[in-house]
């Protein structure tokens, strides 16, 4: 059990970036073993300023500008983890996580298992991801499925400042490695954050549960629309438009990708009989395939229509000029909603 104390202090308007910043600060104040590691996270405050001010307040020893080497960042964080440190590694952009892929997949994910529980690595890897910001190559991708297939990792992606604030603290307090995917196009979206939402004392179990479940972002009866991270806002907008056209869409924000809260999705699918899943990642072999497979396995006889997927196309992320068409957008989501509603 980690001695994490979360104080109830009321509600503030925050951007998602600000909420993560506040969550990091709270975690660092609470536990001197929490370290931040990454490229340019110190004086600069990170290229997205998510760690703004933390270097100034916690110093070089707690906010570490590392050499430019992602394998090195995650690998040394693993070693620090064996001495009880809780490193929060920032990967500057999702496209640059791959040099660390070996450490994450063969080492970090397996250490608890291969040590028969003797080694616990409560690391967090923060990954700004997804597109829609007009960026150049490698700065707009959604690689979450490339991690979800690997047992031993937990994967969380907040869609709101509140979930970002709570989630980052729970991820840090949780005893397992957590990949924390931050939808960068949502960094500057504002929302109300109740900084007292998490229980006062954050046990391992409570922290883990906090980052394991989905939420119903909007209730509905005709179609279940599953989204996470960057596409939740899109899903809500789609639901709004669909409602105007007379279709009641229930939006489920998965939040957690591993574990996948399929119980909640299946429950909703049984109610609506129609499911659409949307994410920015390449559709083939993506998260939506797993959602579709599980819904089919567990709710087949309740379905009126096949589960449809709306995601990125099977191409590398194209030049920014194409991204509006490349990414799921209102038209494409509503098209899928229409198609399932035909049955």
């Amino acid at each position: 059990m980690s001695d994490a104390l979360i104080n109830a202090t009321g509600t503030t308007t925050m951007t998602m970036a600000g909420a993560i910043n506040a969550g990091l600060r709270a975690a660092m104040e609470r536990d001197p073993k929490v370290l931040l590691m990454g490229e340019d996270i110190g004086a600069l405050g990170g290229v997205f300023r998510v760690t703004d001010g933390l270097h100034k307040d916690f110093g070089d020893d707690r906010v570490i500008d590392t050499p430019l080497a992602e394998s090195g960042i995650v690998g040394t964080a693993i070693g620090l983890g064996m001495r009880g440190y809780r490193s929060v590694c920032e990967i500057q952009f999702e496209g640059f996580i791959f040099p660390a892929y070996n450490q994450i997949t063969t080492q970090l994910a397996k250490m608890h298992y291969r040590s028969q529980g003797n080694i616990t690595l409560p690391l967090v890897i923060r990954v700004p991801y997804a597109g829609g910001i007009g960026a150049i190559e490698h700065h707009s991708e959604s690689p979450e499925a490339l991690f979800a297939h690997t047992p031993g990792l937990r994967i969380f992606s907040p869609a709101t400042p509140q979930d970002a604030y709570d989630g980052i603290q729970q991820a840090i307090a949780a005893p397992d490695p957590v990949m924390f995917f931050e939808p960068k196009a949502r960094y500057w979206d504002k929302g109300e954050v109740n900084t007292g939402t998490v229980e006062t004392r954050l046990s391992d179990a409570a922290a883990t549960i906090g980052i394991s479940g989905s939420r119903v972002a909007r209730e509905g009866t005709d179609v279940t629309l599953v989204a996470y991270g960057p596409t939740v806002r899109l899903a809500l907008q789609s639901a709004e438009l669909a409602a105007q056209a007379g279709t009641s869409v229930e939006v489920i924000d998965l939040r957690s990708i591993s574990p996948l809260d399929s119980d909640a999705v299946v429950k909703s699918a049984k109610k609506t009989g129609r499911v659409v899943v949307t994410h920015e990642a390449v559709t083939t072999f993506g998260v939506a395939a797993e959602v579709s497979a599980r819904v089919t396995e567990q709710a087949f006889f309740h379905l009126h229509a096949p589960v449809l997927r709306v995601g990125g196309f099977h191409t590398p992320y194209p030049g920014a000029t194409f991204e509006h068409e490349y990414l799921p957008n209102l038209d494409r989501v509503l098209d899928a909603v229409d198609r399932v509603m035909k049955h």
Binding site: G42, A43, L44, F98, F313, T315, G319
Partner: protein, 376 residues
């Protein structure tokens, strides 16, 4: 072992100091001997035009015409000096800041901006210029450079007996890049294969906000000692020295003696990119110190002193810079959005059923809107 720190001037090859005085170096001065005033004016021309163009790109970005811009500002000597040491059989693997080298390889500068306007990821044909596409994943291209050099060797382009036919590869990367495992692996593959590759590290003292002291305790040129590879530290703001040491290194590599490592100590006079804010992590004093060491200024001083920079020449260069700026602006603003279906092109060289099916779906889907519009 003495630790001199990565920013020491120890061992720096310098043939023109920032006061514009020529210095002698036993090994490398001979490699500058052929630099006539005319040739030096060519360097000055290239550096000046490059900088003018860079500033134009900068302002296009500020006007919202480009998503991002990465300046070469301050690194003109390292790029133009080394670039001019290259010949036709040579091949370059740049990182993403080597616009000056691109220029020496005949890449049309405005075309580079297609990348930064989000039209495509690479906008020249590498084989046409002996200049590979930019690589944004730090360090990854150093292995490509090494493999390419191994291929040149296999193809008889190294120590062929006819020195004019011999070629080598130059791989550019930054100080931060030296920490990536791929750079180390490149040095291993290059050395065991005696591959003709010149590793050209532009130490501009920063990896975004991080001082080079975050990457190493000792001069980066010394990294090469770990592989028994010859290495050279050069004043990266001295275009003559950069040129001379690259000549030396290329000759070494082309004649079958294996890889060389060059560290050019320079300074990134601008921000990392237009998204960056250097006031957060470095001082005005530091910037001023280095602005006094501006790579163009020192060549200006030298050429002026030698009475080799006539006004008409300067005016012609300024005019050329302006004209290029105008052409660049016009080009950039004229580029229209490609047809959306193009995003499905070139994923594979041969058809792939998933891409085909998605493309076909998308075409029908787009068409359905057109149909609706038409019927309205």
């Amino acid at each position: 072992m003495e630790n001199l720190g990565p920013l020491s001037e120890d061992g720096l090859v310098r043939l023109l100091n920032h006061q514009g005085e020529v210095l002698q170096d036993q090994t490398f001065s001979p490699y500058a001997a052929h630099l006539t005033p005319e040739k030096l004016r060519e360097f000055w021309h290239d550096m000046s035009v490059l900088r003018a163009w860079d500033m134009e790109a900068m302002s296009l970005q500020r006007q919202g015409e480009l998503g991002l811009w990465v300046q070469s500002y301050g690194q003109e000597a390292a790029q133009i000096g080394s670039g001019h040491a290259l010949r036709d059989p040579d091949f370059v693997f740049p990182s993403y800041r080597e616009h000056g080298v691109a220029m020496t390889r005949g890449v049309d500068l405005p075309s580079i901006l297609r990348i930064f306007r989000g039209l495509e990821h690479g906008s020249w044909v590498p084989a046409e210029h002996g200049f590979h596409l930019y690589t944004l994943v730090i360090g990854a291209h150093a292995l490509h450079a090494t493999g390419y050099a191994m291929g040149m060797d296999r193809d008889g382009l190294v120590a062929s007996g006819d020195a004019d036919k011999d070629g080598a590869v130059v791989c550019y990367f930054g100080d931060g890049a030296t920490s990536q495992g791929d750079i180390a692996e490149s040095m291993t593959f290059a050395s065991v294969n005696k591959a003709p590759v010149v590793f050209f590290c532009q130490n501009n003292q920063f990896a975004i906000s991080e001082s080079v002291t975050r990457q190493t305790n000792i001069p980066l040129a010394d990294r090469a000692k770990g592989w028994g590879m010859p290495s050279i530290r050069v004043d990266g703001n001295d275009v003559i020295a950069c040129h001379a040491v690259t000549q030396w290194a290329l000759e070494h590599a082309r004649s079958g003696n294996g890889p060389v490592f060059i560290e050019a100590l320079t300074y990134r006079m601008g921000a990392h990119t237009t998204s960056d804010d250097p006031t957060r992590y470095r001082t005005k004093a530091d910037e001023e110190y280095w602005s006094e060491r501006d790579p163009i200024d020192r060549l200006t001083t030298y050429l002026e002193g030698a009475d080799e920079l006539p006004d008409e020449f300067r005016e012609a260069v300024a005019a050329e810079g302006k004209a290029l700026g105008a052409r660049t602006r016009e080009s950039v603003r004229g580029w229209s959005k490609p047809a959306t279906l193009e995003m499905f092109d070139h994923v594979y060289a041969e058809p792939h059923s998933t891409v085909q099916a998605e493309r076909a779906w998308f075409e029908r889907y787009e068409q359905s809107f057109a149909d609706v519009e038409a019927s309205n």
